[in-house]
Amino acid sequence: MYQQCVGWLRSIRLDGMTQTWVGRHALAVVRGLALAALAVAEALAFLLHMAAFVPGFGLGLVFLLPWPILATRRVPNVARRLAGAWGGVDIPEPYRPAPPPPVPGPDGLYVRDRQLYKTPRIPAFAARLDWVLGDRATWRDLRWMLVDPVVGGAMAVAPAALVAAGLWYAVTGAPTNWWALPLGLLFALAGVAVAPALLWVHARWTRLMLRPLVHGPTAECRRRWMGERFIVLVRLLTLAVLTLLGVPIAALSVLGLVLTFGLGMAAVLPPIIEYFRWLANLRRRLARDWSGVAVSRPYLPRPDLPPLRSDGLYAVGKHLYKTPHWTAYHQRWRWLLHDRATWRDFGWQLTDPIVGGLLLLLPLGAIGYGIWGLALPRILMFVGLKPAGGDWYGSVAGSAAAAIPVGLAMAALGVVTAPAILRLHGRWTRILLAPTERSRLALRVQRLTETRADATEVQAAELRRIERDLHDGAQARLVAVGLTLGTIEHLLDRDPAAARALLAEARESSAKALSELRDLVRGIHPPVLAERGLGDAVRALALDTPLSTEVRVDLPGRLAAPVESAAYFAVSEVLTNAVKHARATRILIEVRFVEELLRIIVHDDGRGGADPGRGSGLRGLQRRLGTFDGTVAVKSPPGGPTTVTLELPCELSSPKTSTS
């Protein structure tokens, strides 16, 4: 049905007609009407989306989501094809290819998001959901469905509307005004005249909205332009909305304080405090992402249940409690109310609507009032769509003439100052929402405790392994060599031939012991690392990898030995993963030292799907690098490619000594 529809629409060509001017233009008018009908379909498709999205996102009925999106993709596809057939504009389909069906693991189960499934049904659905919702083209389609019925629809229907209105005016006006007939016909003619041009514009508009996103230099340039003029304003507006949202939350907090300390309803306060931390956290994130002001979370870590005392009670502060439940309750109270960040949050909630709100109001108000309060009303008065005078819009200090320049100047000033205001707003956020020294230290202590435990555990395991390897390997072989030598001594005179045979055996044993020791040393601290440093050690690793591996190293000198060693073994582990699990064919390793940070990026073209939560290898890596405050970031979408980024803060220990 869809194919037939497209075919039919395409066939509206009528070769004879296209030969003449009138024919071509009349055809464009008709095509415009078809596009207007398409605009109606778009609006319906948008409504269908909304009908599914409201329960889908609102009530969590996610199974409703993919269907309307996939079903209505035909509408934008028709628009793309028609833009090609009628507007001469080629718009390829932007959609991502559908995900492959899930493959069961060796145990016959399907893995998805760290969960095992017996049947492929749920994993397949989850993959489909990711595919559809994760595709930017989906959201661009949706935006188009919202905007195009108005913009594109108006463009499409305009010629036909002009013709219809012109003819109607000519017919109905003719009896009273003699000039109604020529004027009406002129209008109708104008409609016919502009039809092909509008069709052309419509096709370009469609391409703008529906083409695949490419990040060429022009797109980059435009984004930067948008970033400077537009995104800042959108951010300010969003912050303003958030500030307004903060007002009822602040009121609720005040209510909680009153109920708690006024009426003794202590149970209401902790949930209010804890729950509404999301708002402050959101603002911290926005301050970092939008204003460039780093504000980390200040909250003290949630305490664990205290150990049971010898008398069977739990101590929280100076109070003793019997049950874990009450202990936890009082602990939570103490944790939240003894945290200075809580009170600073309160202070922020109460002051932000005033200080932050005023800050935001400056540029937004200047732009809003400048355009809608002064310039626009004045322009409308000029055009005659609005009666002059009557209210205070459209005039400055009683003078109407200054309204347009002053209004535009205000708006321009608002736009120009917007980035500075956004930064200032971020700084304001930092004043009250940044961590205090105490909470910073508490968080640091928690982190150090965790990583120290990891470090000692890893070290102990390593020593156990070395001990075992030596005991079962080299040590045992040397004992064997000693025994054999004793036997040889005994045989030397009586049976020289047997002694000679044993001699060869002893030599072989000692060679094996050496080879085992070599392997052991490699596992403790690779000689090439000691001799050449990280860069060449990674190069040596790459050479020993049975894949095509490229290494780019940019290190100004040797790094501190423990960091070198940790980084080396981390790279080794990542390479092993790439070879073993990712089925990669090419690997690129970048080792770079920038601003006190060692960054190693390992990129492979394998099948992806590496999940730090699932494999113990990557998690072990995280733990081992954690000792150095290092981080592991894994980007591995199903189907690949995989990029593992290791970052270790460190210092250079010496300038470059290696020659390569």
Binding site: R507, P527, L543, D544, P546
Partner: protein, 217 residues
């Protein structure tokens, strides 16, 4: 034959010098550190140098660096490098100038005294002596795996021994083949790997090593 020996561990230095003297070599200098080695190599111009990779004062690859520096100054100066471990990376650096007269062996190989002495003589004569472990790594970890897969097992054996730097006669002896059979295998290998044939043993070995080393890395 005049030999310069560089080894920082007293026991090993004495053992090596005893071994080489027993086989008729003349130890003209036995040094402990990188700078001393460089001085001995450029000053004494020995027929061959036996060098430990790791030497004082830095305890890094001082020996290797001194050997490479000396070879830059005296092109083709025969150097046999010994180490507790072998790295493809170092092998590549030694072979990079393509002139031969280099060796790179694990210290364990000293155990088989005859083969070790043979390797020293080969290097002194401008040939090569590569450790079997290096060759094994070169053969597995390379982009050339595809053409190598076309070789027969026997041809692969011959290739490995040839890459270690053995002469045709030595290969024949080791694999219990006639020398002419070895020659035929070598011709076939060169054909399959698309290498230009050569009559000279050393040049043939260098061609094979260059082939194995030449990949995108």
């Amino acid at each position: 034959m005049r030999v310069v020996l560089a080894e920082d561990l007293y026991l090993l230095r004495e053992g090596l010098s005893r071994l080489l003297t027993a086989h008729g070599f003349d130890i003209v200098a036995a040094v402990e550190t990188g700078p001393e080695l460089l001085q001995a190599l450029t000053g004494l111009r020995p027929d061959v140098a036996v060098v430990d990779v790791r030497l004082p004062p830095t305890q890094t690859d001082e020996g290797l660096q001194a050997a490479l520096a000396a070879r830059r100054e005296v092109p083709g100066l025969p150097v046999l490098v010994l180490s507790q471990h072998v790295e493809q990376l170092y092998a590549r650096e030694l072979l990079a100038d393509g002139t031969g007269g280099v060796g790179y062996l694990l210290k364990d190989r000293v155990f088989a005294a005859d083969q070790f002495v043979d390797a020293v003589r080969r290097v002194a004569a401008g040939g090569t002596a590569m450790d079997p472990e290096v060759i094994a790594k070169l053969l597995t970890g390379t982009d050339r795996a595809q053409p190598l897969a076309r070789l027969t097992p026997r041809e692969r054996d011959v290739l490995e021994l040839m890459a270690e730097g053995r002469s045709n006669a030595a290969i024949a002896q080791q694999l219990f083949l006639s020398e002419s059979a070895v020659g035929k295998h070598i011709a076939s290998i060169f054909g399959k790997l698309d290498l230009a044939p050569s009559d000279d043993d050393n040049r043939r070995v260098l061609a094979v090593l260059a082939y194995l080393n030449a990949d995108s890395r």
